[in-house]
């Protein structure tokens, strides 16, 4: 059976993930390059300037595909032999918690870079900045949770990236729609009372996604 659930194992796994990230800087750099080039292309495409609501849509699309890029790496790099080794050492829940936390933090970094690039090249029309930041935190947490599971599923099918984006698309529609609406509220600088229920909805989806990932991962993990 599995070893017992242990917090120190989660911390060790997290440490390993971040250490790997810092040693092979290529993966983070490739994501940042991706964001930069996409933003530059959209800057060239919208010559007449980008309207605020288009800004929100563009922002979340860039974030979504950058997120897929980032999260897809989390299981493709795991070889089969190392998988079996991990299987003897860790509880599946420890493993998936560390992956989810890592992906969420990675997505937050991607968020920060997207905001900076967008602000630099296209402009930053957001009026209610605090609401926007909260939306980014909640929305990318939901994306991180579901993309982790989808990355694990698509790594089992063998052909990686295209399957990953196909699998994630329908699952992320609710997250994307709620985040888009909140972002639009933040851009328009609407009163907080308008956004509470969407915020609640996004939070509920966060909780559901993460608990489902924790529950379902043990079935994917076994070969």
């Amino acid at each position: 059976m599995h070893p017992n659930l242990n917090t120190s194992n989660i911390i060790a796994l997290l440490k390993k993930e971040f250490l790997l990230e810092f040693r092979q800087k290529t993966s983070l750099a490739s994501i940042l390059l991706y964001v930069l080039s996409i933003v530059f292309i959209s800057f060239l495409s919208f010559k007449s300037g980008i309207k605020p609501d288009v800004w929100g849509a563009l922002f979340w699309l860039v974030l979504f595909f950058a997120g897929i890029n980032a999260a897809s790496k989390s299981f493709f790099t795991e070889s089969k032999a190392r998988g079996i080794y991990n299987y003897t050492l860790y509880h599946p829940t420890e493993f998936v918690i560390s992956k989810i936390i890592y992906n969420i933090v990675l997505l937050w970094v991607v968020c920060l870079c997207s905001v900076l690039t967008f602000g630099w090249m296209i402009g930053f029309p957001v009026q209610n900045v605090l609401l926007f930041i909260l939306t980014l935190l909640l929305g990318s947490a939901a994306l991180g949770g579901s993309l982790t599971l989808m990355s694990c599923i698509s790594s089992k099918t063998g052909n990686s990236y295209s399957v990953m984006s196909l699998l994630s698309m329908p699952v992320c529609i609710p997250v994307m729609l709620l985040s888009l609406r909140l972002t639009k509220n933040a851009i328009d600088g609407l009163d907080w009372s308008v956004s509470y229920k969407y915020m609640g909805g996004l939070f509920i989806i966060d909780v559901i996604i993460i608990s489902l990932s924790l529950f379902l991962f043990r079935y994917l993990w076994k070969e």
């Binding site: 579901s146 599971l149 599923i153 089992k156 099918t157 063998g158 052909n159 399957v163 196909l166 699998l167 698309m169 329908p170 699952v171 529609i173 609710p174 729609l177 709620l178 609406r181 229920k197 969407y198 909805g201 509920i204 989806i205 559901i208 996604i209 489902l212 990932s213 379902l216 079935y219 994917l220 076994k222």
Partner: protein, 225 residues
């Protein structure tokens, strides 16, 4: 008679709802006019799809609890039947919308968005099953995707319309399913049998597909399940 009475009931109910759907009395309402008859065809198809979605989800859970391939066959067949009912559902809806809303697809209706998400989930689920060759791995991976995606879709269908109550669907106030449809009692007399009939039809189709797939499995693997 013991085992197939419900199949006769399904045929009778569907025939009744089709006949009465075209010749029965309907209230005269603005804009909707005679197109309100679409309620007898469009909505029951969605209910049948939701039933199949539920069956598929339930047996995916059963499969993960014990890895019995029997449940995977049932779960995947239910997903196929659900897709089969979703297509006519979306077509009847689009034809209706062309004449009442003026175009076949509108941008900001939460129900349409939910339905599109559900359809995408189905298609991706079929694709996922086609990609994995080994039967047990296929069953396990697709069961996980099934459970995750269908819960997300269900949450979406239940939560989102309440948050954004601007659906164009008739009789709406943020309610995802039965609203106060503009129905009178004579319409209910046709609507409920239609729902029952189409749901029974979908279950019948599921039992046939399930039996076929089981026989196929037996032939391929030389073992009975």
């Amino acid at each position: 008679m013991k085992h197939w009475w419900w199949k006769i009931a399904a045929i009778a109910l569907v025939l009744f709802s089709i006949t009465m759907g075209f010749i029965g009395n309907v209230p005269r309402l603005d804009i909707l006019n005679e197109t309100i008859r679409n309620l007898y065809f469009h909505v029951p198809l969605w209910f049948a799809m939701l039933t199949q979605m539920g069956i598929s989800w339930f047996f995916a859970l059963r499969y993960l609890n014990g890895y019995n391939i029997k449940y995977d066959i049932l779960s995947s067949r239910a997903a196929y039947v659900g897709g089969m009912f979703a297509l006519p559902g979306i077509i009847t809806g689009s034809v209706w919308a062309t004449y009442t809303w003026g175009k076949p697809w509108v941008a900001d209706d939460p129900k349409l968005q939910g339905v599109m998400a559900a359809m995408l989930v189905y298609f991706v689920y079929y694709l996922l099953r086609a990609l994995i060759p080994d039967a047990q791995t296929k069953a396990r991976i697709s069961a996980v995707y099934n459970i995750f995606a269908f819960i997300m879709t269900f949450v979406f269908i239940m939560i989102y319309p309440r948050l954004a109550p601007n659906s164009l669907h008739p009789g709406n106030g943020g309610n995802p399913a039965f609203g106060r449809y503009d129905m009178d009692n004579s319409m209910r007399m046709v609507f409920y049998p239609a729902c029952m009939g189409w749901i029974l039809m979908s279950v019948w189709l599921l039992t046939i597909l399930n039996r076929m797939k089981k026989l196929q499995y037996k032939l391929d693997n030389h073992e009975s399940i």
